[in-house]
């Protein structure tokens, strides 16, 4: 191996700095999880170990409803956004070049750069302007829209880095359009679609501002409900819900890692 002229790991002070950064990022999470197992009614005063708040959280009907809403919205908008993103990416990357292709790509990515509060207010104004009042479907539509660019990024990247000529090779070897897609394009695109879907799911599940603006009675999502609980007072129940959410995201991240590792 050639000696490297510069090794950032050897920079003086990098180790303590990194340690500080990691503690800064993860200490709150650790504290949150620990206090989820606190028996006391006041979250900051530790008395003894208990699973009681998990029980409370799971049996809380409002939390159950909010969780149900969140999952329905996340699953539905993930499926819709991923399908639209896949088709969009295929159209933009594989379709014929057209005038305004660059503009189209920019427009699709707009929700990534527009402040969420702007999207939230305009969506609210728009929905009430046209009198759209479909309950959860309002949320699903809004979430689908802002999840599309998140789902599309990895799919587009995957399409761009697809090895040169494999699609031509498939056509050369007698594959018609349908089998070219099913046997070659889609299998090669699958990891991108999977990560796109996961990004979309997490983005939707995590969304607060847009959901807060659009949620009406009976369509409250979990982040919005947790926020309303905070205003009443912090109990370890919130820690317990957050811990469960954390667990859910961890499962997703690990699944994504395992999936990509299996591919390569």
């Amino acid at each position: 191996m050639r000696a490297r002229p510069f090794d950032w790991r050897k920079t003086p002070g990098i180790a303590p700095f990194a340690a500080f950064a990691i503690i800064f990022l993860y200490a709150p999470l650790v504290v949150l999880v620990i206090y989820a197992f606190n028996a006391n009614n006041v979250v900051t005063i530790w008395t003894s170990f208990s699973l009681k708040w998990f029980g409370v959280a799971i049996q809380d009907q409002a939390i159950r409803d909010a969780t149900f809403n969140s999952i329905v919205v996340a699953v539905a908008s993930t499926i819709l956004a991923t399908i639209i993103a896949t088709l969009g990416a295929l159209g933009l990357e594989r379709g014929p070049n057209f005038r305004g292709r660059g503009t189209a790509i920019g427009l699709v990515g707009l929700p990534l750069v527009v402040p969420e509060i702007v999207t939230a207010v305009t969506t609210l104004v728009f929905f009430s302007g046209i009198g759209l009042n479909l309950g959860l479907f309002n949320l699903i539509i809004a979430h689908t829209v802002f999840c599309i660019p998140f789902a599309m990024l990895p799919i587009q990247a995957r399409l761009k880095e697809m090895p040169a000529g494999v699609e031509e090779a498939a056509r050369d070897l007698y594959a018609d359009e349908r089998r070219l897609f099913m046997k070659v394009t889609l299998p090669l695109l699958a990891p991108g679609i999977m990560s796109g879907a996961m990004l979309a799911f997490v983005t939707s599940l995590d969304d607060f501002i847009i959901s807060l603006m659009l949620a009406g009675a009976g369509t409250t999502t979990l982040p919005v409900y947790i926020y309303s609980m905070l205003r009443v007072g912090v109990t370890p129940e919130i820690n317990a819900i957050s811990t469960l959410l954390l667990l859910l995201s961890l499962i997703f991240v690990v699944a994504a890692l395992l999936l990509t590792r299996k591919r390569s």
Binding site: A164, V166, E168, A169, A170, R171, D172, L173, Y174, P187
Partner: protein
Amino acid sequence: MSASALTTPPNLPKNRASGVNTPLVEVHELVKRFESFTALNNVSLRIGRSEFFTLLGPSGCGKTTLLRIIAGFEHPSAGALRLDGEDLIALGPNQRPINTVFQSYALFPHMNVRDNVAFGLSMLRAKPAVIAERVEEMLALVKLGHLADRRPAQLSGGQQQRVALARALAPRPRLLLLDEPLSALDFKLRKEMQFELKRLQRETNVTFVLVTHDQEEALTMSDRIAVMSEGLLQQVGTPEEIYETPANRFVADFIGEANLLAGRSLGRARDDLVMVRPERVSLKRPGPGVNGKAMGIVTLVTYVGADTIYETELPDSVVVKARMRDREDRFAPGDQVAIDWPDRAERMLGAAPETGVAA
């Protein structure tokens, strides 16, 4: 002949009425224009059955465009393209009994070697037993039977190349196209694969059309070569014809080394451009009874193993190269020499340009 007849497995017996006398491939006045430039300018070609045919030229000469039109990936602006007398233009790449070995190999990364080789036949809906047998046969042909379960990423460049060949030959195409197939391999492997390709072509009897910019590769492998430049066909002929009797200055210059001399440099009345290969040029010590085409002075001596290459300068500073094997009589820079070659080694290439001709 309908499109569907062409897409039935190309391994049907060749019982066409067109017979042996018609060419397998007929390229007729093909033109391909891209937005601002013409990649192919009225190219006409005939490629025979079981021929090893090479499209040779520098990058940008249109050879790859021609190959892609034959494969069906590009649509010509004008002209006709026939295979066994059938018009191909309206058919997509998946409807032509033609397979391609791609420059990048383009193996399917998500399939193992066996499934890669089976792909064409399975798209043609051949019976599984037939596919399995053919795949084994192909893997044996390219000596890769032991790697059938590997993924392409687990293979070396040379092995991937063989898989690409097996995959393209498995559906028994009537024509195999090879797009610079050896350019990604290192020198030694490239030499091996040249012989390997030649062997495969003989054993399978399939017509090969190879695209390359490597003139040595073209000379050693081909039955016939088409030399292309700037979208135009410069010459079509056997390697010997191309090398010994180049049709024009471009071919003479591109294939092998050539001394290109104006008649006036040799003191001739006709100022034609004269081409002589360096290995046909001999140097002699001047003296009584020693004749030559010209007198010159040795300026550079390069020893290249089997031969020695001498650069000599004529009185008008034109350089003539001589490649000689004689070890008895060596020359040194500064020596006066008589430069000679047999008359039949000369090739006239029309009027010489006004300005000096660089060899």
